[in-house]
């Protein structure tokens, strides 16, 4: 029988990261993510890792990228205002294809907002926060146990695909203490960085490969490489030649598209034959599941679709999940961010799509969802 351990969400994130091989953390503590930095400072030295408290979040993100270029599995953790400051360097990581993991414990915003209250209002920032065209990966765990496993998965995806991966959860789960089975480590198969091998003279650090993931050279390996945020050719050096520029940016987007099946993860519960499907993520999905039980007991055919990988959104699976439903409800602790995406995906259908939103720093309760579903079906 597995052994259960009671863990706080932020600590589970740290243990998951270390289990995944994280050996470098640079950050600037900020509520409600501070326990991640605190626990990293305790745990990393024990595994010969490095913890650095930086002067701010811009430098934190830069240090993480530097450590990763040097070969370490590296991460940082922050909350809303810090996540905003990190955006430029997250773009640098995307452009240079440097693996890294960013934890964003969501609190009320904008600006300093409500530091101690939960929110889900950073999901579009995670998708579009840095400038330019790029594709982001965002994982949205719903429990302490899933913070443990999804943080591990974030490292695997980041290393394998050479992309920054954001894991976002709200203050409620971050500070929740919950029973976790620490034996639930994620398989690392296929989740390691492709390293440069072969002839070092002909090595091209940004070569086009079938899976759009170029092998990565590490300092000291003997391969000539060049790392820049400027648009670069296959040799890594800056170029503004139109065809090379289009190929370079296009491959960043194509890389996520061709590897989507490796990235996406979702749960679909009782969606086949449902009259209404609730689309929810994070702690709101747990409210949705309890609401679903109560609605089903009342004779309402209700499904729940939960994207664990929020970006790229599992579009095909979602479309299949709402085939029978006339109504789609999107509860979230923001003013309607995923709602816009769901409306776009359902635009060609005759589905009626609505949101249930809270921006007051309080969680959406199961009873709120039950009431909204009943009213929605009567409309």
């Amino acid at each position: 029988m597995s052994k259960l351990t009671n863990l706080q969400g932020n600590r589970a994130c740290v243990l998951g990261a270390i289990e995944a091989g994280c050996r470098f953390f640079a950050g600037y503590p900020i509520t409600p993510s501070s326990e991640i930095a605190e626990n990293m400072a305790k745990e990393l030295p024990a595994v010969a890792g490095t913890f650095v408290q930086m002067e701010d979040e811009l430098a934190s993100m830069a240090a993480v990228i530097g450590a990763s270029v040097g070969g370490a599995r590296a991460m940082t953790a922050t909350s809303g205002p810090g996540f905003s400051l990190m955006q430029e360097n997250i773009g640098y990581a995307a452009m240079t294809e440097t693996p890294c993991v960013i934890i964003n414990v969501m609190r009320g915003g904008p600006s300093t907002g409500m530091p101690t209250r939960p929110s889900q209002a950073d999901i579009m920032q995670a998708r579009w926060g840095t400038h330019g065209d790029y594709s982001a990966i965002l994982l949205t765990p719903w429990s302490v146990g899933e913070i443990y496993t999804e943080t591990q998965r974030a490292f695997g995806l980041s290393e394998a695909l050479r992309v920054p991966v954001v894991v976002a959860f709200d203050e409620s789960i971050a500070h929740l203490v919950e029973s976790v089975d620490l034996a639930s480590a994620v398989s690392k198969k296929g989740m390691i960085r492709k390293k440069a091998v072969g002839d070092n003279k002909s090595f091209a650090p940004y070569a086009v490969t079938d899976d759009c993931i170029p092998p990565m050279a590490l300092p000291g390996d003997g391969f000539r490489t060049h790392t820049t945020g400027l648009t670069h050719g296959e040799d890594g050096f800056p170029t503004q030649e139109p065809l090379a520029a289009e190929r370079a940016v296009g491959r960043l987007l194509e890389k996520i598209r061709v590897n989507q099946s490796r990235i996406e993860r979702y749960e679909s519960s009782h969606c086949a034959g449902a009259d209404i499907v609730i689309v929810a993520y994070g702690i709101t999905a747990r409210a949705a599941c309890l609401a679903q039980e109560q609605l089903q007991a009342a004779g309402i055919q209700c499904g729940v679709f939960r994207p664990q990988t929020l970006w790229p959104f599992p579009e095909l699976a979602f479309r299949k999940s709402i085939e029978s439903a006339g109504h789609v409800l999107v509860p979230e602790m923001n003013a309607g961010q995923l709602l816009v995406e769901i409306q776009r995906l359902a635009a060609a259908s005759d589905k009626s799509v609505a949101g249930l939103n809270r921006i007051d720093g309080e969680n959406i309760s199961p009873s709120m969802i039950v009431e909204r579903v009943e009213a929605f079906l009567d409309e």
């Binding site: 351990t5 009671n6 702690i283 599941c289 309890l290």
Partner: protein
């Protein structure tokens, strides 16, 4: 859900997070999933403080925040208002008879117990959290009362172990007396 919902509430500094953690460890040791949440804001250092437990079915990820309390411990009047709406006909409330003057209405059973008085008899009013844990466990039997003794001992500083065990026993006795009534 078919689980159990418990709230310890009072004013900041009364040790509510500690008793929630002790009780939570007992549930997870018995392979029951537990979720513990707390008030997370500056008032937890003096104003309203709370620690909530939701004990769920094995292996099931359920909603982790309280919505219908089965057991509510109140150690200070300042905490009463926060639990309105969570109390129902099956809720058992255990409140300190001196510090709580107006309990929330609608509970199935309301016990006013001399929790602070017994804590003082054990040595300090700061042990009221452990007294209330004893009273809750003996009234509710949510877990084996004896199982918590070791967990309390390992959760408090060495020099306060005897005092806390005394406080726990006093709480158990209060609960047993009430059960007999």
């Amino acid at each position: 859900m078919s689980g159990i919902e418990i709230r310890f509430s009072g004013s900041g500094g009364q040790g509510l997070q500690l008793v929630a953690r002790i009780l939570g460890e007992e549930f997870s040791a018995k392979q029951r999933y537990v979720a513990i949440s707390q008030g997370y804001e500056p008032t937890s250092r003096g104003g309203l403080s709370r620690a909530d437990l939701v004990i769920g079915d094995q292996g099931k990820t359920s909603y982790p925040l309280v919505s219908r309390l089965d057991y509510l411990v109140i150690l200070d009047q300042v905490a009463v208002a926060a639990s309105k709406g969570l109390v129902h006909a099956d809720t058992l409330i255990i409140a300190d008879c001196e510090r709580v003057t107006e309990p929330p209405s609608g509970a199935g059973k309301y016990l006013q117990l001399p929790l602070v008085k017994e804590a003082l008899a054990a040595g300090t009013s700061r042990a009221v959290n452990i007294v209330s844990l004893g009273a809750l466990v003996s009234c509710s039997r949510v877990c084996d009362p004896d199982a918590l003794v070791d967990k309390i001992s390992s959760s408090v500083p060495q020099r306060f172990i005897d005092m806390n065990i005394d406080a726990y026993q006093r709480g158990l006795t209060l609960g047993l007396d009430e059960k007999a009534v």
